[in-house]
Structure formats: structure tokens, C-alpha cells
């Protein structure tokens, strides 16, 4: 807002990076550019006053997922296979992009005070309850009677970072579900890839060792779930 040229520069760099990733044949360079894309996205989110999201994007997108992509590349050839570019793919991409752009026409502009999110009373309620200290702490203050007690005071939390309060307290169920999703994803990866080293050793042996292997793992699983 105070410096629109920064937004323009960052968005232009994002676009350039995205196009180069699409045109890149060298997979290693493409993986590194994906990390750069995430870092640029994180920078842009800081300028949009969303430091929590920027934080996540920088740590996950630019940090860990790049490492995982690089790890995957170790078992792949370095160059992408040359495939003939089909005009149908271009049409599909342009169509999808066009529909997505058309979808954004409905969105309120950045920081619009009349947007549904800003107008909805739940936003006001969340901000009030997150920022105001709980009743028993506020009782000693004289100004609490001045302003008049709000019905929202019984939900007051008094934590400066509203994002944390909304995520962990007001929407605690959602965050629990998200943690369960991460749990499930981790479990899936560990079950599919985990212990690859042991399984490979087993494969070279006779197959009748495998019941032993299962037997070894069953108490392990019990220990995790209890």
C-alpha cells in the first residue's frame, strides 16, 4: 500500500520464476527454483501483513519441501524427458487460468473495509475476545466499568497474537483435525517408505523371515498408540 512498486516487483519475480519452472528441463534447477518461488511468496505475504502465513511458507515451502524434492531427485534422472508439447495442454492451462482469474473478480480488494469478512460480526467478536484480558484480570481496572461490560467478555482470552488464539482456542477443533491430517500423512509415508532399509535386507533373505519381521513391529505399534 505504501510502496506498490514492491508488490509489483515481487509479483513479477513470482511470475518469472513460475514460467522458468515450467520451461525448465533440468530437474535440479527446477527444484531450487521452487524453493525460490516459495521464498518470494513468503516475502510478498509479509507485505500483505500476514506474517504467520509467510512464516509457514518460508519454513515449509522454501525449506523442507525443497529438501524432500531434492531427495526424490536422487532416485530420478537429472533431465526431464523431452515430450512433444501438445496444443491441447496449452488450451487446458489457459482455460483453467482464465476460470481462476474470472473467479477472483468477485473477491473484495485488499484491505476493503466493506468486504464480507470485515463486515461479519464474528470478526469483531473474535478480535474483541482475543485481545481483551479475561474478566477476573479486567475487574481490577477501573476502565472496564467505563466501557461497560460486553457480553463477549466471558470468552475473553487476552493473547496479543489473535491468529494463535483463533487457531488454538476458538477453532481448536479445526486445528485438532489438521494435526490429525499431518499425523495421517506422516503415518502413511512411514508405512510406505519407512524401514525401507530393513525390508530390502529381508527381501534378499528367504521369505520365511518375514513373519519374524512382522512380529518385531507389532509391539512397536502398540507402544506408539498407547
Amino acid at each position: 500500500m505504501n510502496a506498490p512498486f514492491i508488490d509489483i516487483i515481487l509479483l513479477a519475480m513470482l511470475a518469472v520464476t513460475a514460467i522458468s519452472i515450467a520451461r525448465m528441463r533440468n530437474l535440479f534447477a527446477a527444484a531450487m527454483l521452487t524453493g525460490i518461488f516459495s521464498l518470494l511468496g513468503a516475502c510478498w505475504m509479509v507485505f500483505l501483513d500476514a506474517p504467520d502465513v509467510a512464516f509457514t511458507e518460508a519454513a515449509v515451502g522454501a525449506g523442507l519441501s525443497t529438501v524432500l524434492i531434492l531427495a526424490t531427485l536422487c532416485v530420478l534422472p537429472a533431465q526431464e524427458k523431452d515430450t512433444a508439447e501438445s496444443p491441447l495442454a496449452l488450451v487446458a492451462v489457459l482455460l483453467t487460468g482464465g476460470v481462476l482469474l474470472y473467479g477472483t473478480l468477485d473477491m473484495p480488494s485488499y484491505g476493503d473495509p466493506n468486504s464480507p469478512a470485515a463486515q461479519n460480526p464474528i470478526t469483531e467478536a473474535y478480535l474483541y475476545s482475543a485481545q481483551h484480558p479475561p474478566e477476573h484480570a479486567g475487574d481490577s481496572h477501573a476502565d472496564s466499568s467505563e466501557h461497560g461490560a460486553s457480553p463477549l467478555d466471558r470468552y475473553a482470552v487476552g493473547i496479543p497474537n489473535t491468529v494463535t488464539t483463533v487457531l488454538a482456542s476458538f477453532r481448536g477443533y479445526d486445528t485438532m483435525g489438521e494435526t490429525a491430517v499431518i499425523f495421517t500423512a506422516g503415518l502413511g509415508v512411514v508405512l510406505i517408505l519407512g524401514g525401507a532399509r530393513h525390508r530390502r535386507l529381508q527381501l534378499t533373505d528367504e521369505p520365511n523371515v518375514s513373519p519374524d519381521d512382522e512380529h518385531d513391529h507389532v509391539p512397536d505399534d502398540d507402544g506408539q498408540s498407547s
Binding site: F55, G63, L64, T165, V189, L193, Q224
Partner: protein, 136 residues
């Protein structure tokens, strides 16, 4: 990468601060940007960096695969446990006000710790799984 002197020295200097920063993000999430998810990822990034520079064996010695595998479930159980404890104390599920004075602060901190444990464990487990696959 075991013979890269500069990488080894810089990583040795940086890794303690990366891990410390993860805990700062974790415990300071109430006041500044951050929280369990980000802290878990940063912690995992520190361990992954250690594994990349000093080898998978060294990383698995520092943080054992069995421990992170249990951590995957432990974090989620801690999260659900906070909700169950709130119920036992007379509130609703995940109603931190039941946890006594400053219940909201306690509840949020515990729940974020659960998120931290699960996220860090999942990320490190995924890295170990991939690295073991590539290693052989």
C-alpha cells in the same frame, strides 16, 4: 558432503540457533507470529540440515527414528488429552477455561506443544524415510 569444511563449520554454528529459534517461535507464539506448526517445521529443518551435512547416521544417532515415530502419535494424543482433561474438569471438549486460572494460556500452550511434537516428528520421519531410501 562430509568433506566440505565450510559447510560443516557454518552448520555447526547455525544448528543450535535454528533449534533455539524453533523453541522461541513455539513459546512466543502467543505474542508474535508463529506457533506449533512453524516451530515444528523449523526444528525439523535444523535436524534435516544436520542430516544433510553430517550424514544420516549422525542424525539418526542424535534423534532416533523410533523416538520421532512415537512422537507422531504423541503430539496428537497430547492435543486430544488436553481436550479430555478439560472435559474431566467439568468443561466442554477443548474448553480451556476449565483448566483453571489462565486456563486459556495453558490450554493454548499445551495444544501448540502437541502440534509442535507431531509436526516435527512427521517432518523428521519423512526425511529419514526418504534418506534411507536414497542412501542404499
Amino acid at each position: 558432503m562430509k568433506n566440505q569444511l565450510i559447510l560443516r563449520v557454518v552448520a555447526k554454528l547455525l544448528i543450535p540457533y535454528i533449534l533455539l529459534y524453533a523453541f522461541y517461535v513455539q513459546w512466543h507464539g502467543d505474542f508474535g507470529p508463529g506457533g506449533g506448526f512453524q516451530a515444528g517445521v523449523i526444528f525439523a529443518a535444523g535436524i534435516v540440515l544436520y542430516g544433510l551435512i553430517f550424514g544420516l547416521e549422525a542424525a539418526e544417532k542424535a534423534i532416533q527414528p523410533q523416538i520421532v515415530r512415537s512422537g507422531i502419535a504423541l503430539g496428537l494424543l497430547l492435543y486430544i488429552g488436553v481436550g479430555v482433561v478439560a472435559m474431566l474438569l467439568g468443561g466442554d471438549f477443548l474448553d480451556y477455561d476449565a483448566l483453571g486460572h489462565h486456563g486459556q494460556h495453558r490450554g493454548i500452550l499445551l495444544v501448540e506443544t502437541g502440534v509442535f511434537i507431531t509436526v516435527a516428528s512427521v517432518m523428521i520421519s519423512i526425511f529419514y524415510s526418504f534418506a534411507e531410501l536414497v542412501h542404499d
